[in-house]
């Protein structure tokens, strides 16, 4: 027991990152995700053909010069694969960032103000949680069509309550602590108390949650594309690509399905590993079994 156990148990953000980085699972996760991000963003520069270049008979498995054969409309499968990752990654990332910002603000405000505002905010969050995410996104698509920014907005906003809950849950106990009271006594503005006193103390669970939500956002956005809802049906997209080619799985041309399936599987397992590393680190620091 040290003199100030209270302060030591506070997980500082660099602590969580550093501790989780010591774990193999985090390193493997980061390696996998980095590889897929590279493919998704820079793959197009090494693509042998054009994104919408028809080379021959659709689904021809062994055309000369084509690595994985042809797919729908006679496009080169490998080329479509190299182009198809970016939309999913960008949309999932943007919607998670949006949810992270809004969810953190709502969670902190609710925790700090308590009582009525807290009740009102968290009940609203509860109602938003009454619909599974994918259904909310489908309703929005039914209204306005599958426009990219709308899907990002819908996924982001439906993720907000999940993040707000975690932030509020952690921040509620932080609000009770002495340094918040002293900041109030010093007359610090509310914004500063939320940003400088509360926020740094919720970053560990926030990081864990953000990672989990990113994994789910990839699943929802990939799933929506898999259902056939994308803003540009002609553009390459891993989710859409699986749906377009699964009919010829047994017909000797499995790659149009297999490449994107494997890519999304690796990507989500990668983010899952990073998240697991983060949560193990956060839990370890909390229990005092790991030094921050």
């Amino acid at each position: 027991m040290t003199a100030l156990p209270e302060q030591q148990s506070t997980p500082a953000p660099p602590g969580v990152l550093r501790v989780s980085w010591r774990m193999w699972r985090t390193k493997i996760g980061v390696a996998i995700v980095s590889l897929l991000v590279l493919i998704a963003f820079f793959g197009r520069f090494i693509a042998p053909f054009g994104e919408n270049e028809a080379l021959g008979i659709p689904n021809d498995p062994d055309l000369e010069g084509s690595l994985f054969g042809l797919g729908k409309l006679g496009y080169d499968v490998w080329t479509r694969f190299l182009y198809g990752g970016r939309p999913i990654l960008v949309q999932a990332f943007l919607s998670t960032v949006l949810a992270l910002v809004l969810g953190t603000i709502i969670g902190l405000v609710a925790a700090y103000n308590r009582r009525r505002l807290d009740d009102a905010l968290m009940r609203t969050m509860d109602v938003m949680l009454a619909l599974p995410q994918i259904i909310l996104v489908l309703v929005v698509i039914a209204m306005f069509g599958a426009q990219t920014w709308l899907v990002v907005l819908a996924v982001g906003i439906s993720t907000v309550p999940r993040i707000a809950r975690v932030v509020r849950g952690t921040a509620v106990s932080v609000v009770e602590r002495d340094f918040v009271a002293s900041a109030e006594a010093l007359g610090e503005p509310k914004m500063r108390i939320l940003g400088a006193e509360l926020l740094p103390n919720v970053t560990a669970p926030l990081l864990v949650e953000a990672n989990l939500r990113l994994t789910f956002a990839i699943a929802v956005i990939g799933g929506i594309a898999f259902l056939g809802f994308t803003s540009d049906p002609g553009a390459a997209n891993w989710g859409l690509m699986i749906n377009e080619h699964r009919g010829v799985l047994a017909g000797g041309q499995p790659w149009g399905t297999m490449l994107p399936v494997i890519a999304i599987a690796l990507l989500t397992i990668g983010t899952g590993l990073i998240g697991d590393g983060l949560s193990r680190a956060a839990a370890g620091i909390d229990r005092g079994t790991v030094d921050a």
Binding site: D126, A219, G223, I242, V261, L273
Partner: protein, 322 residues
Amino acid sequence: MGNIGVWKFIGRRLLLGLATLLVVSIVVFAATQLLPSDPARAILGRDATEQSVNALREELGLDRPAVEQYWDWLTRLVSGDPGESFNARLPIMDYIGDRVLNSLFLLVLASVISIPLSLLIGAYSARKRDTAFDHVSSNVMLALASLPEFVIGMFLVVLFSTIVWQVLPAVTVIASGEGPWNHLDQMILPTAVLVLGAVPYIARTARASIIEVNESDYVEMARLKGAPEEVVLWRHAVPNALGPVFQVIALNVAYFAGGVIVVEFLFNYPGIGGALAASVRVRDIPVIQFLVMVLAALYVTVNLAADLATVLVTPRLRTRLK
């Protein structure tokens, strides 16, 4: 149970559930009112005359004030008449009734398999904590929990119905009026996807919850006073470990409500999830409204049931309500 606190709690939860559904209904209805395209125009196509569009608007009741339309829709929905499909021009119940039943069958099947299976895995991992079994199972669970349903589904299709072995059907072929219970071989893959999606969460929570309870003071106390291990487990440990597990089970059954959409689409299963995706594609608003309400009702009911079960079974919470 003559405990007023418990009844008050149940009453409050019921009210909250109903209020949630009411808000969802308003949101869903308002969303469809915001629709930029005119449904009557959408049904008749661009070439229809102004008169026929107006006539259809009147027939569908689209010319009335929004509040009146909402009230009409809600009262009919509650009395079991969700109205008519825009596209099929048929009463929704006629062609979706079967599908509700089919989806329920799929969900019940998936729940009946996944809940005991994951509790077993969770309890066994907790018991074998930090052994090879625990490590392997926790890593497999982590990977499964990360994978989207359509990816799990495609892997299963590749494994069992196309490339590796051709032992199970990749799509369901169930004629209308014929129950899926007559085609159990076609149920295997869709059910398996939902089970594989749900098991990791329940198993992980069960494991953590059992470990926590096992290390708690009251279990220690029971052991110290010499209670037999059987009594410690069933009287002291299990009831306290069930609470969080119920919550996660509820979350997962609720997750099924979203998961069925992709799974039914993937296997061409004739349920409401696939129907929702299809009606979104053709913007069949009344069908969308109805299906969203059905799924929301499922979600709210399951969460409510879990809350009640948690309170009734957890000794700590039950006494706090007195």
